[in-house]
C-alpha cells in the first residue's frame, strides 16, 4: 500500500472521526543550555507563535514512521531514537479542529544535531523560556511533560549517551547531567555512582584539549538504551 501524507486542509476536518497527528519534542544542549527545537507556526491558527514539529499521520503509517517522516520534513533530522510520550486530546487543544496528538520526545547531541539540521527552518529555544505565551496550541504543556519524562530518564537510564560524543571525560558527562537536570552534583559522589553501575568503560585516550592535567576518557559500555538506575 502506498502511504498517504494528509495535510491540514479543510476537508480533513469533516470526516466522522478525529484527525490523528504527531508532535515531536526534540531536546538538545546548545550553549550549555537545554533547548527545544521549534518551528515557526506554519498555519494562520498558530497566531505567529512557534510550534513543535508535527503533522498528520497517513494511512498505513505507524506512529514511529510518521514521527520520523515529519521530523525529517520539518527539521531535516533523521535516524534518532524517539520515545512515545502521551496522547493529548483535550477539547479545544487545537483550534484548527478535532486533532488528537500523539507526542514523541527525544534527546539529540549537539554535533549530530548541528550537522543535520536546517537552521533556516527551525529555532532552538531554551527550555526555561518556553511558556504558553511563546508556543502555540497546548505545546507548552506537551513540552513540560516531556521535560519531566526526560528528567526521569536521565536518572534511571543511559539516555545521556545521546548527547555525548563517542568518548568523553567524566567532567563532561557530569556537565551534561547538570545541564539537563538543572542542578549541581558532587564530583566525587557522581564519579563513584556512575562508575559503580558499570555503564561506562575506560578508553586509552586522554583529553589533551585543555592545557591542564589530562583527563581519562570514557565511553558507554552498552550501545543500546538501557535502564540502569543512576543518581
Amino acid at each position: 500500500m502506498s502511504t498517504l501524507h494528509p495535510e491540514y486542509t479543510d476537508d480533513i476536518f469533516h470526516l466522522s472521526i478525529p484527525v490523528l497527528a504527531v508532535d515531536i519534542v526534540l531536546f538538545t544542549i546548545y550553549q550549555d543550555q537545554l533547548c527545544v527545537v521549534l518551528v515557526p507556526g506554519r498555519h494562520e491558527w498558530a497566531e505567529g507563535r512557534m510550534t513543535l514539529p508535527g503533522g498528520i499521520i497517513g494511512r498505513g503509517e505507524t506512529l514511529e514512521e510518521a514521527s520520523d517522516r515529519i521530523l525529517k520534513r520539518d527539521t531535516n533530522i533523521s535516524g534518532v531514537y524517539q520515545e512515545q510520550l502521551y496522547t493529548f486530546s483535550a477539547h479545544g487543544r487545537d483550534n484548527r479542529g478535532d486533532v488528537v496528538s500523539c507526542s514523541y520526545y527525544t534527546l539529540v547531541g549537539t554535533q549530530a544535531f548541528l550537522s543535520q539540521i536546517d537552521l533556516t527552518k527551525v529555532s532552538l529555544v531554551p527550555y526555561s523560556r518556553i511558556s504558553r505565551e511563546t508556543v502555540a496550541f497546548d505545546h507548552a504543556d506537551i513540552i513540560a511533560y516531556a521535560y519531566q519524562r526526560l528528567n526521569w530518564k536521565m536518572e534511571y537510564t543511559n539516555v545521556a549517551k545521546s548527547i555525548l560524543p563517542a568518548s568523553f571525560t567524566l567532567r563532561e558527562l557530569q556537565g551534561a547531567y547538570e545541564t539537563v537536570l538543572g542542578r549541581p552534583f558532587d564530583k566525587r559522589n557522581f564519579r563513584k555512582k556512575i562508575l559503580s553501575i558499570g555503564m561506562l568503560a575506560e578508553t586509552s585516550e586522554l583529553d589533551r584539549e585543555n592545557s591542564k592535567r589530562p583527563a581519562k576518557m570514557y565511553r558507554f559500555a552498552d550501545s543500546e538504551l538501557k535502564i540502569v538506575g543512576i543518581l
Copy 2:
C-alpha cells in the same frame, strides 16, 4: 457539536487517515486473583478469541470521554478513573484495517464492580491465563504492559484505594498488595511502612467478622489518587 460514534464498518477503513480507537484494560480482584475484564470478540476478525472492551473515537470526543462511553457500553461500568497507558500502532496489529489504539487501564474494586457489571456480556480472566492464544489482536501485549504500569502504581501511589472498601484491616490491605503484585510481604515491615507514610487513618471500628482477636480498621486519608512512594 453532536458527537458521532462510528463503528467498525467497511467505509471507515477507506479514509485517508487511520482510525483511532481506545482499548481498556480493566483490572479487578476476583476470588483472590488479579483478573482482567474481557468481552467476546464481536467481529469475525477476532476469530473467536476474546478482546478488551474497545471502540472507535467519535468526532468531538476526547479520549477520556470515548473511553468512559465505551467502557459503559461494553461492560456497563461507569464512573471509574482511567489512566492512559500507551498508543499502539504497529503494522498489522489489527487485522480489520489501519487502527491506532490508545489504551487506558484502571483498577476497580470487586464490590463496585460486581454491582454494576453485566456478567452476561463480559468475562473475568485471571491475569496469569492471558496469552496471545487466548486474546485477539495485540491485546495480550497491551495487557502485559498495563500490568507493568499497575505494578508501578501499586508501589508508588495509593491506587490500592480503588480495590478496598471504605474501611479495611491491615491484613486485607496487605492481601490486596500481595494479590496484585504477586509476591508476599513481611507483616511487620508492611505495617511499619504503610503507616509511616501517613496514607492511612485509623477508624474507631473493629473487625468483628472473624471470631478471633478483632483487628483495627483503617481508611485512606486522601480521597484522591496521590503519589506517595510505598514499598
